[in-house]
C-alpha cells in the first residue's frame, strides 16, 4: 500500500518559503495515503498561478492546463475515466476570477470531483494584483488607493449555486485540512474545499495571524449541523466567509455520472470503440 512518501516526488516547489500552499500539498499527500489510494489512481488537474503548480508537486498523474480552466478539464478527465480520483486545484484568481463561470456550472453539474482552492486574496504569480476575494479597501498593485470593488465570498456563492459538499480549511491547521480533503474525495459529487493559504510575499494583510484571529472554526462550535443549509448560509454571512471546517453537506443528491443515460459502470477508456454493426445499420435507416 502506498504511503505518504509515495505521493512525494523529488521536485522542489518554486513557492516562496512560508507560502501557505506547502501545507495544502502536504495535506493532499497525507489524505491520499491515508485513504489507501495508489499514485497512478489519482489525477490532479490544476490551473495557472503559484497554486496551480501543485499538480507537479504530488507524485500522481497531473495536468497543468490554462488559467481558469482546471474545472472543465478535470470534469472531462472524470467523464473519461470514472475510476480515477480526480482533484482540481488552483488559486482564487483562477477559480473565482477568470474561472468563476466554470465553478458555478461545475457545482450545478455535480460531477464527482474534488476542487481544492488556495485562496490568498491576491494574484501571486503575476506579482501582487488584487483578486476577486480581496477585501474592499485592500491595497495591491492594481488598487494603490484601495480596492473599490467588493470581495466575493466563494463559500456563499457555492452554497447559493447548490453545492453538495462545502468545506473551508486553513494552511495552519493541517490535521483539519487532511480530514476535509478525505471527506471531499469520499463525497459522491462535486466537493469544494476552499483553503485560506496565505501569500507571504504579496499579501501583508491576510497573514497567518490575520486568519488565526479572524477565522471561526466550526469544528469547535458545539451542535453545528452541517446538513442544515439555511444555518450554513447564516454562518457564512455572519462570519463574512471566515469560517473553517465542514460547512455543508448533502448526501441525498445523485452525482452527474449516475444520471447519464446509458453511461456504463466500466469507464469509457475501457470500452471497445468499434461500433456495433447493428447499431450502425439502425442509424443508417434514419436517413434512408
Amino acid at each position: 500500500m502506498a504511503t505518504v512518501k509515495d505521493f512525494r516526488n523529488d521536485i522542489r516547489p518554486n513557492w516562496c518559503p512560508g507560502c501557505g500552499d506547502f501545507s495544502v500539498q502536504a495535506s493532499i499527500q497525507r489524505a491520499l495515503a491515508s485513504m489507501g489510494k495508489e499514485p497512478h489512481e489519482v489525477a490532479i488537474i490544476s490551473g495557472i498561478g503559484c497554486s496551480g503548480r501543485i499538480s507537479g508537486y504530488v507524485n500522481s498523474y497531473g495536468f497543468h492546463g490554462v488559467h481558469g480552466r482546471a474545472l472543465p478539464t478535470a470534469q472531462g478527465v472524470k467523464l473519461a475515466n470514472r475510476d480515477l480520483t480526480v482533484i482540481a486545484a488552483g488559486g482564487d484568481g483562477d477559480g473565482f476570477g477568470i474561472g468563476l463561470n466554470h465553478f458555478m456550472h461545475a457545482v450545478r453539474r455535480n460531477i464527482d470531483i474534488t476542487y481544492i482552492t488556495m485562496d490568498n486574496q491576491i494574484y501571486g504569480l503575476t506579482k501582487g494584483q488584487h483578486s476577486p476575494t480581496s477585501a474592499h479597501g485592500f491595497k495591491a498593485k492594481t488598487t494603490p488607493a484601495g480596492n473599490i470593488e467588493n470581495a466575493l465570498v466563494p463559500t456563499q456563492i457555492a452554497l447559493a449555486a447548490g453545492i453538495g459538499f462545502l468545506a473551508q480549511g486553513f494552511s495552519s491547521d493541517v490535521n483539519q485540512l487532511v480530514s476535509l480533503i478525505e471527506q471531499g474525495i469520499n463525497y459522491k459529487g462535486f466537493a469544494l474545499i476552499n483553503v485560506f493559504s496565505p501569500c507571504v510575499t504579496y499579501n501583508k494583510i491576510n497573514t497567518y495571524d490575520f486568519f488565526r484571529e479572524n477565522v471561526k472554526n466550526l469544528d469547535k462550535v458545539e451542535g453545528y449541523d452541517p446538513t442544515d443549509r439555511a444555518n450554513a448560509m447564516k454562518t457564512i454571512i455572519e462570519t463574512n466567509g471566515f469560517c473553517t471546517g465542514l460547512i455543508y453537506r448533502d448526501d441525498s443528491r445523485v452525482p452527474y455520472q449516475n444520471q447519464i443515460p446509458g453511461y456504463r459502470e466500466e469507464p469509457i477508456v475501457k470500452l471497445d470503440l468499434n461500433l456495433d454493426e447493428s447499431v450502425f445499420e439502425a442509424a443508417l435507416k434514419e436517413f434512408a
Partner: protein, 575 residues
C-alpha cells in the same frame, strides 16, 4: 421529359416550409432521384420569409440550380421574392387564400390549398395539398408520399395518416383539373436505387460515432448544434456522453481533459466558438493531447450572418492560437466525406498527438442531399503510440514515464492516467521529456522542434483531388461545399470546348504544397473559388509556396452559396 428539375417552397418561417420541403425531398430520394436541398432561413423562430429549394435529378448535382422550375408559394412575399428566378414558362402554385398575383413570364396556378386542407381535417395539412399538386406537375404518382406520411403520422393514428393522404390526393386532383400535368415538366423515371438523404452535420455525427468518439462537450450554435443533438440521441447506446457546457472555453478544455483521460473526444462549434477555443487549442498542441474540433463555418465576423453561408475561418483555424503548434485542418466536401473524415480526424489526432480541426461550411453542414450508402468498413480505428501497462513493463514503479521523449519523428509514447508505471506530468508550460517544466534554452529548442517535426514534410493522403482535363485552360480550385457548383460549371465550360480541371482541397494543414503545385502546373490559368471577401485560400497558396504565374480569385461573401452559373459566367469572362 426532364432529367432534372428545381422546385422551391416559400413561406413564413414556422408555417411548415421546412417540413414541406423535407417530405418532398425524402419521397423523391426514395424513388432513386438525386436530391439536393438548400434552406434559406433567418435567425428568428417564427415569421420572416424562408424557403427550401430542392433540386431533383437523374445524376448527382451538389449545388442548387440557378433557376427554379416550380415555385410553391404560401404567401405573396414568397412569389415577389422568388419569382425572378423562375424560368420563363415556369410554374407557380399558390394558395387561393391570399389572392396571388404573379408576373407574366410564369404560369400561375391558383389552388385553394388551405381550403382543401381544412376540408380534409385541418389547415396544417396544406403542405400535403401542395405536395400533391407538385407531384401532379412532375408527372409522378401521388402515392410517392404515402410511405413518408405513414412514418411521420402513424404515431398519431390511422385517421391522421388517411387525412394527410387524402389532402395530398385532392391537391393532385385539383392541379390535374387545372391542367397542371404538363409533360414539359414531367421527370424521367429514376433508377429506384435506395440511397441515404442527409446533411453534412448528420454525417459528421454518425462519423464521430463510428470513429469511437464517446465524449462531446459542446455549446449550442448555428449551424453546429445538430451534431451534438445527434450524438445526444446516439451516445446512450454506446455508453458515451454529450455535455452541454457553459461556453466554448469549457467545451474545448473539457474535451482536452477527456482526451487526456483516454477517451476519443470532440467538440463542435462555429466561428464565434472557434475564437473562444483558441487558447485551449494551443494547450492541446503544447501538451500533445489529441482532440477533434469541428468548425461549421457561417458568416462572420462577430455574430455576422449567423444563418448564412461563408468560408472565412480558414486563416483563424490555421494560424489561430498564440505561439506555434502542429495542427491538422481537414476540409470535407460532401456528406460521404463528412462521415469518413471523422475516422481519419481521430486517427490523425492520436497518431500525431495534436488538435485536428474539421471544417465544413453552412451549406455543407445543413444542405440535405442524396448520399451514397455509408459503410463501417471505411472507418478504421488506430490509436497511435498508446502504451499499456504491460508494454511499459516498468521495473521501478516510481520511475517517471518519458511522455515527451525526444524521438526521430517527434512522436512520443502516450500513456493514460490510471496506468501503472506510466506516471508523468503534463503542463502547458514548456517541459522536458518527463513533462516537468523546463525553460532552459536547449530544452526549449529541442521540444519545439520535436513538436513541429511531427508534421514537417507530411502531406496527408487525398489532400488534393483533381478531376477534368490535363493541360487545362483553367484549373478551378475549391474547398468545402463549393465542390458542386464548380463541378457543374466545369461541365458546362467543357461542353463549350474549354479545357477545365477541378481541384478540390480536402486538407489545408499540413498544406499540400507539392500535390497542389503538381495539380495546377499544366494549367494556363488558376481560379480559386471561395465564400469569403479576402481570398483566404488564395493567400494560403502563396504563403505555403504554391507557384503559378496566373492565379486569381472568385469571391462571394453575401451569405449565399455559389450558383454554378456564377462560376461559369466568371470563367467565360476570363477568355
Amino acid at each position: 421529359m426532364l432529367e432534372q428539375l428545381s422546385w422551391k417552397v416559400g413561406g413564413q418561417q414556422g408555417e411548415g416550409v421546412e417540413s414541406t420541403g423535407e417530405t418532398f425531398a425524402v419521397a423523391l430520394n426514395r424513388q432513386g432521384y438525386y436530391v439536393y436541398s438548400f434552406r434559406h432561413f433567418s435567425s428568428r423562430i417564427k415569421g420572416g420569409h424562408s424557403n427550401d429549394k430542392v433540386r431533383v435529378s437523374l445524376k448527382q448535382y451538389r449545388a442548387s440550380a440557378d433557376h427554379t422550375d416550380v415555385l410553391l408559394a404560401f404567401d405573396q412575399e414568397s412569389i415577389d421574392l422568388n419569382v425572378g428566378e423562375v424560368k420563363p414558362g415556369g410554374i407557380v402554385i399558390a394558395d387561393e387564400k391570399f389572392n396571388p398575383t404573379a408576373p407574366d413570364h410564369v404560369r400561375l396556378f391558383v389552388v385553394p390549398i388551405t381550403k382543401i386542407a381544412e376540408e380534409c381535417g385541418s389547415a396544417i395539412m396544406k403542405n400535403m395539398v401542395s405536395l400533391g399538386a407538385s407531384a401532379c406537375v412532375l408527372g409522378l404518382p401521388v402515392d410517392i408520399f404515402s410511405e413518408v406520411i405513414e412514418e411521420r403520422f402513424s404515431r398519431k393514428g390511422q385517421k391522421i395518416v388517411d387525412q394527410n393522404m387524402e389532402a395530398a390526393r385532392r391537391g393532385f386532383e385539383y392541379m390535374k383539373e387545372l391542367g397542371g400535368a404538363d409533360p414539359a415538366f414531367a421527370l424521367k423515371p429514376a433508377d429506384g436505387k435506395r440511397r441515404l438523404f442527409m446533411m453534412g452535420n448528420d454525417a459528421l455525427g454518425l462519423g464521430a460515432l463510428a470513429a469511437g468518439a464517446r465524449i462531446m462537450p459542446a455549446y449550442p450554435i448555428t449551424p453546429a448544434s445538430d451534431v451534438m443533438e445527434y450524438l445526444i440521441r446516439k451516445f446512450p447506446q454506446v455508453g458515451g456522453v454529450v455535455v452541454q457546457t457553459e461556453d466554448e472555453i469549457a467545451a474545448m478544455t473539457m474535451a482536452i481533459g477527456a482526451a487526456y483521460g483516454g477517451a476519443r473526444a470532440l467538440t463542435c462549434t462555429s466561428g464565434p466558438g472557434l475564437s473562444l477555443m483558441m487558447e485551449a487549442i494551443g494547450l492541446s498542441g503544447m501538451t500533445e493531447t489529441p482532440v477533434v474540433i469541428i468548425d461549421t463555418q457561417r458568416g462572420g465576423p462577430s455574430t455576422g450572418l449567423p444563418t448564412k453561408q461563408e468560408q472565412s475561418d480558414y486563416l483563424a483555424a490555421l494560424f489561430g492560437t498564440h505561439g506555434e503548434i502542429p495542427k491538422i485542418v481537414l476540409t470535407p466536401a460532401t456528406p460521404e466525406e463528412c462521415f469518413t473524415v471523422m475516422g481519419r480526424a481521430f486517427n490523425y489526432a492520436e497518431k500525431y498527438q495534436c488538435p485536428v480541426i474539421v471544417m465544413t461550411d453552412l451549406q455543407l453542414s445543413l444542405s440535405k442531399q442524396t448520399t451514397e450508402m455509408l459503410s463501417l468498413d471505411d472507418v478504421k480505428i488506430d490509436r497511435g503510440n498508446l502504451m499499456t501497462e504491460e508494454a511499459i513493463g516498468a521495473e521501478d514503479p516510481k520511475a517517471e514515464f518519458k511522455r515527451y521523449q525526444l524521438t526521430e519523428d517527434g512522436i512520443s509514447p502516450r500513456v493514460l492516467p490510471g496506468t501503472k508505471g506510466g506516471l508523468h506530468h503534463v503542463t502547458g508550460v514548456e517541459h522536458a521529456e518527463n513533462g516537468r517544466p523546463n525553460e532552459t534554452a536547449p530544452n526549449r529548442a529541442a521540444m519545439m522542434n520535436k513538436r513541429l517535426r511531427k508534421l514537417a514534410g507530411v502531406e496527408l493522403p487525398g489532400s488534393v483531388e483533381k478531376t477534368g482535363d490535363d493541360n487545362a485552360d483553367i484549373a478551378i480550385i475549391g474547398v468545402g461545399s463549393n465542390i458542386g457548383a464548380i463541378a457543374e460549371a466545369m461541365e458546362k465550360l467543357r461542353a463549350d470546348g474549354l479545357k477545365v480541371a477541378h481541384i478540390q482541397l480536402h486538407a489545408l494543414l499540413p498544406f499540400p504544397t507539392q500535390s497542389l503545385t503538381a495539380a495546377i502546373s499544366d494549367a494556363k490559368k488558376v481560379l480559386v473559388v471561395e465564400n469569403n471577401a479576402t481570398g483566404q485560400v488564395r493567400h494560403l497558396m502563396s504563403y505555403f509556396g504554391v507557384e503559378h504565374s496566373d492565379v486569381s480569385g472568385l469571391n462571394k461573401y453575401d451569405g449565399r452559396p455559389f450558383l454554378p452559373s456564377e462560376i461559369y459566367k466568371h470563367v467565360k469572362g476570363m477568355f
